[in-house]
């Protein structure tokens, strides 16, 4: 027979022998069966070495079960490329392809392993002590290449992830005996229940043991319970779903991998539960001895799983090494698999060992009070073990074996409990940490609670569930507990034994396999004063690897306690943090990906713009707006120039829809407006508007805009596009919290209105040709006034406001008519050569006029007086937002940066926006900066605006702008370059 499936047992297991599957490992074609994991299939094929270790590149294989089996990590290749996948949880599928990680050229012959030769100079924290001279940069690339395991995928997957919310009464995490009973009880009691388990199916430990309920395999019972659950409308069961984050608010994040009924890679559930029941079981931990990482050293439960679930014999001759009773359960499994038993090494005394029938009838030798000092490997796999006695350390005995079944005890899966801020306590009788005080609405049942016997787990699951239900006022229907057939269970009875080595010499006795941390490393750290458990973790990296110390941490704490001569409780644990097991980033982001990663907003005219060459800009508050419209053969600058000319000389139109708008109503509407703007709005007629600047309470400019009076107590306040969300929040807080005495109501109406702004010297003439009842004449509709009426049969509001400095009509219509209005204007504007313009042209035009741009001149340090808007600050008003602060600041700072115009001496020079203005030797004395600089068609030269120290007193002076090493002389001027009197916009 070929090596193919050489370790597969002829019968048994839960694998589906009718469905053989082909897969690739390191390029070699192998085969397994459906229901195999990648790990079991590799084991069946006689493959021992899956990867190389982090630091010393030691060969590693399968040691543990499920997510605790950190040494089984591989790179999943092909379409679903994914790094650091644990073979022990990866279901086998047809065509799967995987590679070993952290090795070159191959996992069996790995150059990196030669590092082991230098390992004596690489104890924990060695990098803090060397590589300083001449510079870390010389060494870093080598270290970096050596670090890390798998590779990030080169391509993004095309499939989706989703993320969703849910609510329930009872969330049960873990579907072992305890979790199933808890879920069953909740379901029968009519509670909305969600049951999740990280494995591909239910059952927990019952999936790999051969327990019998009512004389039938436990899995039958599992199936029966689950089908009852799945048939209940108020119950959801999620398999392959890890509860990874126990958040505040009793919310648990659960990531479901590749939900079977949907074509997605994963889905993250954010579940609020009234009560959470943690039935997360326990993880078997190793005992530390020299070479305890060599393939062939496995946890007893992993051996049981291999044999019972996957019909694989992980060795031929086994030695059992334990400090507790649970290990003896492996014996019948070894028998079944035809594995010879080389002996049992138990660290406990004869009296401590419960002589169950499992050993009573055997001829096998049990060496009590003994331990495995080290295993000897033939390079790739265990060959023998050196065993010695606890009272007579010099007594060494070599036992031939190719499999060492280890049990160092069980670590209750307290991760989620601790994440939820629940406290832990060290329990001597199980030599591990247990949940103590819950902070959130959390319950624990089963092995996680320290209940190590199956009957106890079943009973506790139901009891705890009943308790949780009654806490939320649901009458519990407690299901009967199935009868266990002849219990093959042993008494747990653990006696702590953490490590065979003291770590005085640098043996390879690994505490943390994921980070290659040895007992020696822990000892060294202690010696150097890193005795705090958190220092120890950080100095040695113990518990910082891929499995976050699932098996390592308790051992490390035990070892430290032993050497510090204290109780493990005094050492304490490091902090448990999410995620419980690594979660794909894609699942966390869910559908927030690609185009929909951020909200975007469109005006009703979007499609028109796009089909007319508009280059869309993000205009603030997620709005998309045309930046400029490109015509064939044009450059961006050409386009902007053309658009500017249209406004200054003829006729243009732009989409001003995104401008923020609020309808304000109430007897105190005017009072509010007078409080939020620096100037006074008294005396405004209905239909009249006024420009205002809004400060924050710190006295600094926050926003600006025009407000119109619509009716007696009704105003329409407008603000900048990007500022609208902040203005909305500010106003809302102001009237509800800061000035609750105001009798005023605010309705944000930004998207209600679409706006086409017609501007240019021909705007009035043009609009007079439109089909409209509006009187466009100066008398009827002067600057800063509005009119309502109809245009082309559409109800419109026309505002005479100008941000370009040119004659301008803002035509607002309910959004549904936006496109219709726009198209109508474009159509009748055709003979006029009407030109659509974007925000770039607007920018040039406003610079020519010295109008304020929040994005440019306002950097959070300026007040309105700095901006030359002193006329807008009504000092007589007793109060407005920011008044007090502005006054205090001005008292303390007489000299301020003020808005000025700047004319580069060379009229062709463009200065970069943001260039500082400086004087003094080496330009060290800062005097301000250039906030905007554009080519102005109207002035036929470049012009700029800036903030300059004491600027208004310095008109005519030449100052130096500093632009990338060049100093550029610029002449200070008034900040207006076009139509200084403002006649054109008032036309």
């Amino acid at each position: 027979m070929s090596k193919f499936n050489s370790r597969r047992l002829p019968s048994g297991g839960h694998i589906d022998r009718n469905h053989p599957l082909k897969f690739l490992f390191n390029g070699k074609e192998l085969s397994g069966y459906r229901e195999d994991t990648l790990a079991s299939a590799l084991m069946a094929n006689g493959i021992d070495i899956l990867s190389r270790s982090f630091k010393y590149h030691r060969p590693r294989g399968i040691q543990n079960r499920g997510y605790a089996d950190v040494t089984s990590m591989v790179q999943l290749c092909g379409k679903n490329e994914s790094p650091n996948v644990l073979a022990s949880i990866q279901p086998l599928y047809e065509g799967l392809s995987a590679r070993s990680v952290n090795c070159w050229p191959s996992v069996n012959f790995d150059i990196g392993a030669s590092l082991s030769a230098f390992s004596s100079v690489l104890p924990s924290g060695f990098y803090y002590k060397t590589f300083m001279w001449p510079s870390w940069h010389l060494f870093e690339p080598v270290i970096r290449r050596a670090a890390g395991f798998g590779r990030a995928p080169a391509k993004k997957p095309e499939e989706l992830y989703l993320s969703r919310f849910d609510h329930c009464d009872i969330l049960v995490v873990g579907s072992g005996p305890a979790g199933l009973m808890a879920a069953l009880c909740a379901a029968r009691s009519g509670a909305r229940t969600i049951l999740v388990d990280e494995m591909t199916g239910p059952g927990g430990s019952l999936r790999y043991t051969d327990a019998k309920f009512d004389d039938r395999p436990a899995l039958n019972w599992v199936r029966q319970v689950v089908s009852e659950l799945e048939d209940s409308a108020h119950v959801k069961c999620l398999w392959n779903a890890t509860a990874w984050g126990y958040q505040e608010g009793n919310m648990v994040c659960v990531t479901e991998r590749e939900p079977q009924h949907l074509d997605i890679l994963g889905r993250n559930w954010k579940i609020w539960a009234k009560r959470v029941i943690l039935a997360t079981g326990a993880i078997e931990r190793p005992i530390v001895f020299e070479n305890n990482d060599v393939p062939g050293v496995m946890m007893c439960s992993a051996v049981m799983e291999a044999i019972n679930s996957h019909a694989v014999a992980p060795g031929k001759k086994a030695l059992v090494f334990t400090n507790n009773g649970s290990a003896y359960q492996v014996l019948p499994y070894l028998d079944n698999a035809g594995i010879e038993l080389a002996g049992i090494i138990d660290t406990r005394t004869t009296e401590q060992i419960h002589r169950s029938e499992l050993i009573r009838d055997r001829s096998v030798e049990v060496l009590t009070q003994s331990f495995v000092r080290k295993v000897v490997a033939n390079g790739k796999r265990v060959q023998s073990a050196i065993v010695c006695s606890r009272d007579n350390q010099s007594f060494d005995r070599k036992i031939e074996c190719d499999l060492v079944c280890v049990s160092g005890g069980w670590n209750p899966g307290v991760h989620l409990f601790s994440q939820s801020r629940g406290s832990l306590r060290y329990e001597d009788s199980i030599a591990s940490f247990l949940p103590d005080q819950a902070i959130q609405a959390t319950h624990c049942a089963g092995a996680v609670n320290g209940t190590m016997d199956l009957a106890g787990c079943l009973a506790e699951g139901a009891q705890v569930s009943a308790k949780a239900l009654s806490a939320i006022g649901i009458q519990a229907q407690v299901p009967a507990v199935a009868k266990l057939s002849d219990s093959t269970q042993t008494k747990y009875h653990i006696e702590p034994f953490w490590s065979s080595t003291t770590g005085d010499r640098p043996q390879k006795a690994f505490v943390d396999m994921a980070g290659d941390v040895t007992v020696f490393d822990l000892r060294l750290a202690l010696r150097e004063g890193f005795g705090e458990v958190e220092h120890l973790k950080r100095y040695t990296t113990n518990g910082m690897g891929l499995d976050q110390g699932k098996t390592a941490n308790v051992n490390a704490i035990g070892i430290i306690a032993h050497h510090l001569n204290c109780h493990p409780a005094e050492v304490g644990t490091t902090t448990f943090r999410p995620p419980y097991t690594p979660v794909e980033f894609g699942a966390i982001a869910g559908s927030q990906f690609g185009e929909v990663v951020l909200p975007y907003r469109h005006t009703p005219m979007k499609n028109w713009h796009k089909s007319h060459g508009a280059v869309m800009y993000e205009a603030g508050a997620r709005w998309q707006r045309p930046g400029y419209y490109l015509k064939a053969g044009e450059s961006m600058n050409d386009a902007i120039k053309r658009e500017c000319q249209a406004v200054r000389n003829q006729l243009a139109i732009y989409d001003g829809s995104p401008l923020g708008k609020f309808q304000i109503q109430g007897t105190d509407a005017l009072r509010l407006i007078n409080l939020v703007y620096t100037n006074c709005f008294d005396g405004l007629q209905i239909g009249q508007g006024r420009y205002g600047v809004m400060l924050n309470e710190e006295g600094l400019v926050f926003d600006d805009g025009v407000s119109f009076r619509l009716d007696d107590d009704q105003y329409l306040l407008s603000c900048s596009t990007g500022g609208a969300p902040a203005v909305e929040r500010k106003l809302d807080k102001f009237i509800n919290v800061e000035c609750p005495e105001l009798d005023v109501l605010i309705t944000p109406v930004t998207s209600q209105w679409a706006n086409a702004t017609v501007c240019g010297p021909l705007a009035r003439q043009f609009l007079q040709t439109a089909d409209s009842d509006i009187d466009w004449s100066l008398d009827a509709l002067p600057f800063m006034h509005m009119q309502q009426g109809n245009l082309a049969g559409i109800p419109v509001r026309v505002f005479r406001v100008s941000f370009t400095g040119e004659l301008s009509f803002e035509i607002n219509v309910p959004s549904r008519y936006g496109l219709e209005l726009w198209e109508y204007l474009m159509e009748i504007g055709q003979p006029w050569n009407i030109c659509p313009i974007g925000s770039e042209a607007n920018h040039v035009l406003r610079v020519e006029k010295g109008f304020l741009s929040l994005a440019h001149e306002v950097d959070g340090t300026v007040d309105p007086i700095d901006l030359g808007l002193g006329w807008i600050v009504n000092r007589k008003k007793s109060d407005f937002i920011g008044k007090r602060a502005m006054e205090i600041r001005r008292q303390n700072q007489p000299e301020r940066h003020e808005l000025v115009g700047l004319l580069p001496q060379d009229p062709k020079t463009l200065i970069q926006e943001g260039a500082p203005i400086a004087s003094g030797r080496g330009h060290t004395q800062s005097e301000g900066f250039v906030s905007a600089c554009v080519w102005s068609g109207s002035c036929d030269r470049t012009i700029a605006l800036g903030l300059l120290s004491n600027g208004r007193a310095r008109f005519g002076e030449t100052v130096l702008a500093w632009d990338c090493g060049k100093s550029i002389p610029v002449v200070v001027s008034k900040p207006v370059f076009y139509d200084a009197q403002g006649e054109r916009l008032r036309m």
Partner: protein, 84 residues
């Protein structure tokens, strides 16, 4: 994510709410006070571990403003009340 007890809607997801800082007396009570008192109103707020009373708004929901007492280190909510 917390579930926050809106006085009008009951428990709703934290993401529907806005926390708007420490609850202080209304602004008008400071307008007439000394510069020092005004500055205190402007930028001093309690910044400690423990229960703080804050202004919260069910911004994406019913729009109500209310006072919430919340622990700044555990994020536990003590109570919420509507004073209108």
């Amino acid at each position: 994510m917390l579930l926050i007890p809106c006085p009008w809607c009951g428990n709703r997801a934290e993401s529907e709410f806005r926390c708007a800082g420490q609850a202080k007396p209304p602004r008008r009570e400071f307008v007439e006070k000394s510069d020092e008192a005004w500055l205190e109103y402007l930028y001093l707020s309690e910044n400690r571990r423990g229960v703080l009373e804050e202004n919260w708004c069910h911004e994406k929901g019913c729009g109500e403003w209310f006072k919430l007492r919340r622990h700044t280190a555990t994020h536990e909510i003590v109570d919420a009340e509507n004073d209108s």
